[in-house]
Symmetry: C2
Subunit: 216 residues, 2 copies
């Protein structure tokens, strides 16, 4: 039996949210990945320059083993996302693992999956997450039963390595980590709100928006 990973796409998705986990989980044995969009075709990611092809519409995919929901600027437009949100709710009844990265958690929330559940999200979306009845938990990866939520963007890599270990064992997860050379050495140490400190947290949205391009 082939293991199916299903990933919803919508305009404005954050590419790294899904590609980090994708390039870990695709090494699982006998696995296929399908990208799903309200209307199949090339879906533009954040900033519009990045176009990823979705092969399937929600009606084409009736079940999956791993649901992986990325975040991005388009997650809060719940009305436009309704076909995907409804599909996410249906998928969750069929999954072995239901996962999200960054503000993908808001789509899980909108589908009713996070009510009264511990979960995480991007640090700038905590109130949005809580509006769906979730209990925000400031960990990088939060697992409650079959639901695994990850914090912002790059945390999807850590989430996927954790999930790979749960599915195939620690040696497999270690091998994938080696293959993708995930031995992080960022030039600074400002990757969390606690480490960045309040002044950088306050200034960051302005600093990264200076270019005027649309932001994920």
């Amino acid at each position: 039996m082939t293991r199916r990973i299903a990933i919803p796409l919508f305009p404005g998705f954050m590419p790294l949210d899904l590609v980090g986990p994708y390039d870990v989980l695709r090494f699982l044995p006998d696995t296929e990945t399908v990208f799903v969009a309200a209307e199949p075709g090339v879906i533009p990611g954040a900033d519009g320059g990045f176009g990823l092809q979705a092969q399937a519409a929600p009606a084409d995919i009736e079940s999956c083993d791993i649901l992986l929901v990325p975040g991005g600027g388009g997650t809060r437009d719940y009305e436009a996302r309704k076909p995907l949100i409804d599909w996410i709710g249906r998928m969750h009844e069929t999954t072995t693992w239901t996962t999200s990265v960054c503000t993908g958690s808001l789509l899980l929330g909108a589908a009713g999956i996070l009510k009264d559940l511990d979960a995480t999200t991007h640090w700038n979306a905590v109130k949005d997450l809580e509006s769906h009845g979730a209990h925000y938990t400031a960990d990088r990866v939060v697992r409650r039963g079959k639901v695994i939520t990850a914090a912002g963007v790059s945390s999807g890599i850590d989430m996927a390595l954790t999930l790979a270990g749960l599915i195939e064992g620690d040696e497999f997860a270690k091998a994938v980590q080696l293959w993708i050379e995930y031995d992080p050495q960022p030039p600074h140490d400002t990757g969390s709100v606690a480490k960045a400190g309040p002044e950088l947290v306050r200034r960051t949205p302005e600093l990264i928006r200076e270019g005027g391009a649309r932001r994920g």
Copy 2:
């Protein structure tokens, strides 16, 4: 003047090689990204399930500020890659920064850019890199003049944060790191050859190929 980042795509490219840096560098002010392929259209990445749209052919792009060359299974097929390799050589004469991630370095090498230069690549491609006259250097990010090479796959994130700091300053790089929440906490510590140890290094290619799917 808009800063142009040009990224070549070819069948079998490793998605995370380019998406890690993409989702850092796109926050630079006044920046556009263009994906270039021998024949524009949807280009399948490693495993075939991932299709990213290239908007431009080599002849369409005569210069760029940042050249970012990803790796993947298709890099060693130098004959099939010749249109891109020739274009990479021409671009390098126009760039402010010429960069690669993972086996993208082999395309820089094939274009003659790494001759007698210190450079890095994926740990499993050291001999291929050296065949182009490069001096392999086992650092995660290697900068020599305007040429920056990164090690395997995920190291592109570290490379791009370094480059973002060189271009826009440390505060900007710190802000991007916070926005993508790059506060790595992998479940294991096997991300380099030295940390993984010889037994896991030996077994890894077999472990991650067990699925039988094509590998990047």
